[in-house]
């Protein structure tokens, strides 16, 4: 790095990046130095993402000026730089007549600040706009120019544009001291070296006061104020369309609830002054506080739907306003300090102002070649069918979908990795292209991402950081990992026996795990002439491939096999007429009703986009792991927190050891199995915790995975807090209340560890089913099916973990057999297309769910025998299961009774019933009774 600069910008948050972009308009040597290992390591990363209209700041203040100017500049910057901006409008809601007075004052202030369109709205108008707002609302302020954006992307595109116009960036480069030396400034860096610069922009966020105070007698003092947030699933993103503020009161500004630009819902922030300028740990009290405060806006608000929580620090100065420009005793030193809210909105306008001041201060010439436009790559997920087809034709890596939740292609990732700014952490990839941002929390894609990152950067896998320097992902990996991923990428091709891009099939099976292989095979054996099995990976077998332990196949093969052996047997015995299409991701299924004739399965792979016609479709898309958000754990955000399945992938498919001192939360089978795997592979497994009073996994796994290895099973316990800035250093656990499973205050205990595995349940993966408009069950998370496994969309069937989570793979295969046979029968015309006389089957007392949810009329007519699959709500001793028929008069009659010895929620129960006995009833109800 050269030592002499015209301008050095300290800090690559949104203030520094926007200033850098405007400085690029000058013919000057400009450098941005950033102490962190990415842009936006401070307040820009963790805030509300609101483009404020500008009615709030005190008239005449710097905040009022730059907010107004910034809000006006935002659409232009969004267009030039290619970041998303949505003007959803802001509402400030009053809940009392007293608060309504405040609203009227704010409307007047908006007029004084010159903000267009700010007006008062009545209660009726408010409820019309936002039907979910609390009925206690009495009126509101509407600011139509309020908007939402992704603050990281605003800074990213500004920084990339600056870089493309010649501004240089240095990361992991902390300025320890700055001092005036003649006509220039000398900057001491943390590596002992020095830079000199004619002008300095102080955009150091929470540290801006310290730098200012080194060169000026006009002392500043910044108090970091922490704000906690809860981020919710996109399912809840349309709860409100506007950004919902609460009218400020004596007690504070309240919290906001807003949709985000990514379609999530966010709630926060509170405001807690603290000493640390770096600690962004959340705490349980703060999270409870914002949930409580948010109920004022939306009474139904709860922890349900939370994906994650986080906190950001606002840099609040002691002067009540932004501090922008040169102190009078330090010419050439330009502050963007005390840059709290509305800093994000103001950043473009402040960048323009600061660049203008520096240009005249240094007498700079215009950069004639400055290009104000940055045209980012169109992400795979944003493309329409034609764009996608063209993109894959131009670059096969566009057809490799790495992140299934957010549909991020390998080309998206490579574009970021080789973009204008370096990618020093996996989180930088996440923020820039959305990989790992979906519902699986990176459980599926992080192992794949590790391979790509190592292959492209050459960094040793144990040195790959998740977030901060030192936040390593895996503790051990083989020495030749990098060479091997390179070799692997060369022999990756679209294997499989399918060639054409718009073929027609009788049956297309989506997902080649245990259920899918069985379904394809059964469809072929059942008489379907053309059957296609599609899978996203290079080899069939799904999750069995990484389940190297034994325990599979006792029902299907009458012997105990490991996962790979089980998969191999299934593949070997598959009918040779079945075509396969590997390394292929199904994006959606357009059902026959909408496209006419047959269903269309839209899929991509390296060879292109494929629209495959199918008379029948079987969905066997498996399940995903429940993410950490479900626990709403407080604390910091270190690396070392894995879903059990992703840790299993790292260990069993990549030969890495995720960590050395491990705590496992969740007593599901995957967690128990991983406890043993880690113990066998040399890690210390400290304990396995479960929130309920009984283990969620199979009893035999508790015995052979925990008891055999002396690993304590701690029931009614839950992790409440994570500790560690970089890698996990400790978890705090607490007793969980029986029933609610809520942590009991005062019972906290600290356990030092470097790894936390989460095995807190599996959820059926039904993103493809949703695209086809299939009705899903809230109880199972899978499709609602009849006894032939037909879904609500005629000709589409479901099976395996996509339908409901199975305890034993043999049963998933058996279900695949039935789905495949049903699909074949449907294609051959053996099954009636619609069955209006179906009888619903409901879960009664003591039963959490039942599959199928209905019995087809045709099955009753044929007097078939069907098996009902169900789970009990809690453990029962000597249970009895009752199937009752309910007639239209409401009278109930027992059809069948079955006794058991013991029943637990972890294990699926079955009941066979002859349909001869159910004819004439309006519905069937299955209930369970038993001792404690």
């Amino acid at each position: 790095m050269q030592k002499q600069w015209d301008v050095v910008v300290i800090g690559a948050g949104v203030a520094g990046c926007c200033a850098a972009r405007e400085l690029a308009r000058w013919n000057a040597r400009t450098l941005v130095v950033e102490a962190g290992n990415d842009i936006c390591c401070g307040a820009t990363r963790a805030n509300s993402g609101i483009v404020h209209a500008g009615f709030d700041p005190k008239p005449g203040s710097a905040k009022a000026r730059f907010n107004r100017e910034g809000s006006l500049l935002f659409p232009q910057w969004a267009e030039e730089l290619g970041f998303p901006l949505f003007r959803n409008g802001s509402l400030v809601v009053a809940y009392s007549d007293e608060e309504m007075k405040t609203i009227r004052d704010l409307v007047a202030r908006g007029a004084e600040n010159g903000i267009e369109g700010v007006r008062e709205v009545s209660r009726d108008e408010l409820l019309e706009m936002e039907p979910n707002v609390s009925p206690d609302a009495v009126g509101a302020l509407l600011a139509p120019t309020g908007g939402i954006c992704d603050p990281y992307h605003v800074a990213l595109r500004a920084a990339e544009n600056a870089a493309e116009n010649g501004v240089e960036f240095a990361f992991d480069c902390r300025v320890e001291r700055v001092r005036k030396d003649g006509n220039s400034f000398v900057l001491d860096l943390d590596d002992g070296s020095q830079l000199t610069s004619r002008a300095v922009v102080n955009a150091a966020g929470a540290f801006a006061d310290e730098l200012n105070n080194q060169v000026s007698e006009r002392k500043l003092h910044i108090t970091p104020r922490r704000g906690d947030y809860c981020l919710y699933d996109t399912d809840m993103g349309s709860t409100f369309s506007h950004t919902m503020f609460q009218a400020p009161t004596d007690k504070g500004k309240g919290v906001l609830i807003t949709p985000t630009i990514h379609g999530n819902m966010i709630v926060g922030p509170n405001a807690h002054a603290q000493d640390s300028k770096t600690d962004v740990s959340t705490d349980a009290d703060g999270l409870a506080e914002i949930l409580q405060a948010g109920k004022k806006t939306w009474p139904s608000l709860s922890a349900r739907g939370i994906i994650t929580n986080f906190a950001g620090l606002r840099s609040t100065g002691d002067v009540g306003d932004f501090v922008i420009g040169e102190p009078d005793d330090a010419p050439g030193f330009f502050n963007i300090a005390c840059f709290e809210s509305p800093g994000l909105t103001s950043a473009p306008a402040v960048g323009v102002e600061i660049a203008a001041q520096i240009g005249s201060c240094l007498g700079l010439d215009a950069n004639e070649s400055f290009n104000p436009r940055r045209v980012p790559k169109t992400l795979f997920a944003q493309m329409n069918d034609e764009e996608r087809a063209a993109a894959i034709a131009a670059d096969p890596s566009e057809g490799r979908v790495v992140c299934r939740c957010c549909e991020v292609s390998e080309a998206d990732i490579l574009d970021v990795l080789h973009g204008p700014l370096p990618v020093l952490t996996l989180d930088a990839l996440k923020w820039r292209c959305g990989v790992m941002m979906g519902r699986c929390h990176g459980g599926f894609c992080s192992p794949e991402l590790m391979k790509i990152y190592v292959r492209e950067t050459g960094i040793d896998p144990t040195k790959v950081d998740r977030r901060l320097r030192g936040s390593y992902m895996v503790a051990e990996a083989r020495q030749d990992y990098k060479d091997l991923v390179e070799a692997q990428s060369h022999d990756r091709t679209v294997s499989g026996s399918h060639e054409e891009s718009s073929a027609s099939y009788d049956v297309v099976v989506v997902g080649g795990g245990a259920a899918g292989i069985a379904a394809a095979n059964a469809a072929a054996r059942g008489g379907a002439a053309r059957v296609l099995l599609i899978d996203r990976e290079g080899r069939l077998g799904g999750i069995l491939k990484q389940c190297v332990h034994s325990g599979f196949g006792l029902h299907r093969f009458s012997e105990e096999l490991t996962g790979p052996e089980y998969a191999q047997r299934e593949v070997t015995s598959m009918d040779s007429s079945v075509d396969t299409m590997m390394n292929t991701s199904v994006l959606r299924v357009d059902p026959a009703e909408t496209v006419g004739g047959a269903h269309t399965v839209v899929a991509v792979n390296e060879s292109g986009q494929h629209a495959i016609r199918a008379k029948a479709v079987v969905l066997s898309t498996g399940s995903r792991e429940r993410g950490a958000g479900a626990l709403n754990v407080a604390g910091s955000r270190p690396s070392g927190v894995f879903s059990a399945g992703s840790a299993q992938n790292f260990m069993n498919l990549q030969g890495c050891l995720p960590g050395k001192r491990v705590v496992i939360q969740g007593t599901g089978d995957v967690g128990l199995i991983m406890a043993r795997r880690l113990a066998l592979q040399g890690a210390e497994v400290l304990c396995v915790l479960g929130t309920s009073p009984w283990p969620a996994g199979l009893r035999r796994n508790v015995v052979q995975c925990l008891d055999d290895f002396g690993i304590p099973l701690m029931l009614s316990k839950t992790v409440v807090r994570l500790e560690g800035d970089t890698r996990l250093e400790a978890v705090w656990i607490a007793d969980a209340e029986v029933g609610t499973r809520a942590p009991i205050p005062g019972t906290e205990e600290r356990i030092e560890c470097d790894t936390l595995l989460l095995s807190i349940g599996l959820l059926p993966e039904n993103e493809v089913a949703k695209t086809a408009g299939i009705q899903l069950s809230r109880a199972t998370g899978g499709a609602v099916v009849d006894d032939t496994l037909a879904t609500s969309v005629s000709g589409i069937f479901a099976c395996g973990n996509a339908l409901h989570v199975h305890d034993v793979v043999d049963f998933a295969s058996a279900e695949g057999d039935r789905a495949g046979a049903s699909a074949a029968a449907y294609v051959l015309g053996d099954a009636p297309a619609s069955q209006p006389q179906a009888i619903p089957v409901e879960a009664g007392d003591g039963v959490s769910y039942i599959v199928p949810q209905q019995i087809a009329a045709s099955s009753i007519a044929q007097g078939k025998e069907v098996t009902l699959f169900f789970r009990v709500r809690k453990p029962m001793d000597k249970p009895a299961f009752f199937l009752d028929g309910v007639s239209d008069s409401g009278a109930s009659e027992q059809i069948k009774r079955k006794k058991g010895r013991i029943a637990v929620p972890a294990e699926m129960e079955q009941m066979k019933v002859s349909l001869d006995s159910v004819a004439g009833f309006d519905k069937l109800v299955l209930r369970a009774e038993g001792g404690e």
């Binding site: 391979k451 083989r478 990992y481 091997l484 991923v485 070799a487 692997q488 190297v548 332990h549 034994s550 325990g551 006792l554 105990e560 490991t562 996962g563 790979p564 052996e565 191999q568 260990m651 069993n652 498919l653 990549q654 030969g655 795997r677 066998l680 592979q681 040399g682 199979l698 009893r699 035999r700 508790v702 015995v703 052979q704 055999d708 305890d807 034993v808 294990e907």
Partner: protein, 120 residues
């Protein structure tokens, strides 16, 4: 005075609770709680010589994906870590076929370690 003990059967996912009683000489006298023949056999074995199957992965030269392996029959519980030490020290060369023996006699147990998948 007869001695008795109980444990959970690990032969299959049912997890039956097995009870074994010993006579005064310490010999196995009675087994109850099993629901299949495998359970009975397991109980007899577990009462006098507890054994387990284990599985693991082994690095092979030139291939990132490790080879998965298992004990071809149960090994004494007390020998698990001795066997793992040998398994972890192993370095293999592809190609390897599923079922191929990679260690003839793991840690003196007389039990071979076999591959559970093929590596090309």
């Amino acid at each position: 005075m007869a001695d008795s003990t109980s444990f959970t059967c690990v032969s299959c996912p049912l997890g039956c609770v097995l009870e074994v009683t010993f006579d005064d000489a310490g010999n196995l006298a009675d087994v109850s709680g099993y629901t299949c023949n495998r359970g009975l056999e397991y109980a007899k074995q577990e009462a006098v010589d507890p054994r387990r199957n284990i599985s693991a992965v082994v690095w092979a030269d030139g291939v990132l994906e490790p080879l998965s392996v298992k004990t071809s029959s149960p090994i004494p519980k007390a020998k698990i870590f001795d066997v793992m030490e040998e398994v972890r020290a192993l370095r293999l060369q592809a190609p390897i076929d599923s079922g191929q023996v990679v260690i003839e006699d793991a840690a003196g147990t007389g039990v071979p370690i076999v591959a559970t998948k093929s590596l090309a």
